[in-house]
Each structure stands twice: as structure tokens, then as C-alpha cells.
Symmetry: C2
Subunit: 221 residues, 2 copies
């Protein structure tokens, strides 16, 4: 296992969830064992890149024998923190907040959502599924009372910076930022993960405009 | 300019929207000229990586003088297809479809949304903003009548494959897939861009669990 504090490149970190997703799919299909070549083909990576990535976290594979799907999935899940019992709160229960609460499987990613916050009187005090919706004014008190690992920021842009600062001041470790605003917090230990839909759409825009872009050229992704 | 058909790595394609976003921000801040070093610092990339990426598309920079923000932004926007007049339709006007229509700036990314489709009688026949909502049964006819470049797939999982196939059969060039279902279409020329929220959340989960992961190590992202 990689020692804590050793450097892992951002690119490897970004690939880990993809491995986890791919292995989860293989497991669902009943696949017991997979070679780095097959895994790479599914993911658009070379076999040697995969061996290198996984070696980075302590190996797992056996030469000429491939990887045990279930075991590798569990190991990577563990590295990703799936079993850490992470908690999250949702800030902003508009369309996107609603969509995440109702359709996104937080549990599959090791998160339980414990509360949501909004300012709209028509939903404050209600529940969405099992999740209570509190008034945004109650956030600070909530964060003093409960351990919250991640704040999910789905508020309108105008409120994003203020709410993010409250999350950071309240001691969350990370902010999952859908507000499309650059957050510069005065707490450098709070990790901000920005979701930029436009990066994805523009990549698609590029690809539909290039007749023969090469999907295999994943050399340095 | 890169010749059509030459190979551009997926990693470079993925970085182009980030350049575009960064340059748009600099432009908004009134910055006229930026060095590859400064641009790199903002983006967590090395200056040499940036020079290499942009050289890939024909240069733009001048040694020791930096890049003209406005001009580079326009060039990259052009490469990404911002000025191509792309059109899109939204399939599925649930919470996520709604959120995209109401909050995502398709126009900033060179797309105009011309129609939305759903099966829910309470919204079919209405408009969301300026966008008419038609019944999903009308999709094929619509695609025969109008040019649609991209279908945005925000339907529930159960309908995703069927609707994606209709989009592909109807001649779209790309599918922006939020349905969290692997689409294997029988039209290999249709580009599918999958949006996996879980990849983003799991990367965040990893980062909040590692006390001193190194954000600077972007060596091969």
C-alpha cells in the first residue's frame, strides 16, 4: 500500500474512480478475473499504464494471471474511502439539488446524505425521501452539532461563495462544487472539487467536429 | 493549425475546455496578455506542457512575450467548435433536465437548445423559458425535420438505451449522456460523452482522506 504522504499524481487519482466503476461493472457481469490488457481496452488505457497505476498502490496483480475483480474492486474502493462512512449535506435544493438527492446513488460511493438546506419556505421543514430540509440559517448550528465531511454546493452562483465559506468555517473537509464559481477559501485544507459541465460539453463539441479524432491515443490521459 | 485527421491525444482534448474556461476568466478580469507560466500555475500544469499543447494546434505564442488572452481564447474556442452553430435537444425534463435548461449556459458553449422531449403529460406542450417540450414520440419526426447535432440524455436509466438509439438513428453526431448507463450504439460514428458524477465525488473522497496529497503533481494529467 502506498504510504500516506507519498505523492500520487492527479492523473492517477482521476483514474482510480474509473477503475472502480469498471470493476463494478465487470463484477455485475459476473466476471471473476481480468487481465490488465482487457481492463485497459475497456478503459482506453494501455496494459502497462494500468499495471503502473496499480503498482503505485501496492500491486494486487500476479504476472500472467490477471487481477481478481472482486478483490481489486474492494482494494480500490478502500483507497477511495468508500468504507470511511463519509457524510454529506446538500446546500440548495433547486432542480439540481433535487436531482442529486433523488437520482444520484451517494450510498454506492460511500456517502450518506444527512441533511439538505435551502431558503425556500415551501420546502424548508419538509423531507425529500428520508432527508430533512432545513433553513440555510441553521447550517452553522448543524455543522457544530454533527460531523459533516462534504458539503454539496448546488446553490445559485450568487450564494455560492458565502455558503462555501460557512461550510469551510464549519469544518467540512471537502466541497463538491456545482455552482460554477471559482471558490477561493481562506482554509487551504478544504478540498474543492469543481464540477464543470461545460468542460464535458466542449470536449464533445470538439469531437463531433473532427472527422477522425483518435480515441485510442490515450498516451498521457 | 492542426491538420484534420492528425492524432490529438484525449488528454489534450480534455485540457482544451479548461484552457478556454481559464482564458475566459482572465478576459473577464481584464487581463490582456498571459505567460505560459502564469496560465500553467492557474491550471496546475507546467509552462512546458502548456507550450506543447498549444503548439499542437499551431502555436499562437511568441517567445518571451506570452499569449494574447483574447486571441488565444478565440482560437481555442474555434477549435472547440464554439462558432459552429451547434444545436441540441434535451431528452427528459425531470429535475436534471430542468436544471440544465434553466441554469446551464449552453449559449456560452456554442450550443442552442431547440427543443426538449418528455413523456409527462403535465409538461408536454409547455415551454421552459423559450424551449418547447414535445412528447418523446415526436422525437424521430423532429430529427427528420431539423438538424440536431447533440442529444442531451437526462432520461431515467430504463429509457436511456432506447432513446440514445433513436438519437443515433436520427442522425445526431453526439450524445451527452447523464443517464449513467453504458451506451453501446450500433452507430460507431456517434460520439458519446458520459458524465459520471461519481468519478468526481470519489476523487474528492480520496483527496479528503489523504492528509498531504500533492496537488502540484500534475505531471501526466
Amino acid at each position: 500500500m502506498k504510504k500516506t504522504g507519498e505523492k500520487v499524481s492527479v492523473a492517477v487519482i482521476r483514474r482510480l474512480p474509473r477503475y472502480y466503476r469498471q470493476l463494478s461493472e465487470l463484477r455485475q457481469q459476473g466476471v471473476v478475473r481480468v487481465s490488465s490488457g482487457t481492463l485497459g481496452k475497456e478503459m482506453g488505457l494501455t496494459a502497462s499504464q494500468i499495471r503502473q497505476d496499480l503498482f503505485c498502490f501496492g500491486g494486487f496483480g500476479q504476472q500472467g494471471y490477471g487481477y481478481n475483480v472482486e478483490k481489486l474492486r474492494e482494494e480500490i474502493g478502500g483507497i477511495l474511502g468508500i468504507n470511511r462512512g463519509n457524510t454529506a449535506v446538500i446546500l440548495g435544493v433547486g432542480n439540481l439539488g433535487h436531482a442529486l438527492i433523488q437520482n444520484f446513488k451517494f450510498g454506492n460511493n460511500g456517502f450518506s446524505v444527512t441533511a439538505a438546506f435551502d431558503v425556500d419556505d415551501s420546502i424548508v421543514g419538509t423531507k425529500i425521501g428520508a432527508i430533512p430540509v432545513y433553513h440555510a440559517d441553521e447550517l452553522e448550528e448543524y455543522l457544530r452539532t454533527y460531523r459533516v465531511d462534504v458539503g454539496v454546493l448546488t446553490v445559485p452562483r450568487a450564494f455560492a461563495v458565502e455558503m462555501a465559506q460557512k461550510l469551510a468555517d464549519g469544518g467540512v473537509k471537502g466541497i463538491w462544487n456545482f455552482a460554477n464559481v471559482e471558490l477561493r477559501l481562506d482554509k487551504p485544507d478544504v478540498i474543492v472539487e469543481n464540477v464543470h459541465f461545460s468542460d464535458s460539453l466542449l470536449a464533445l463539441s470538439y469531437m463531433i467536429g473532427v472527422p477522425c479524432h483518435d480515441e485510442e491515443t490515450n498516451d498521457d490521459e
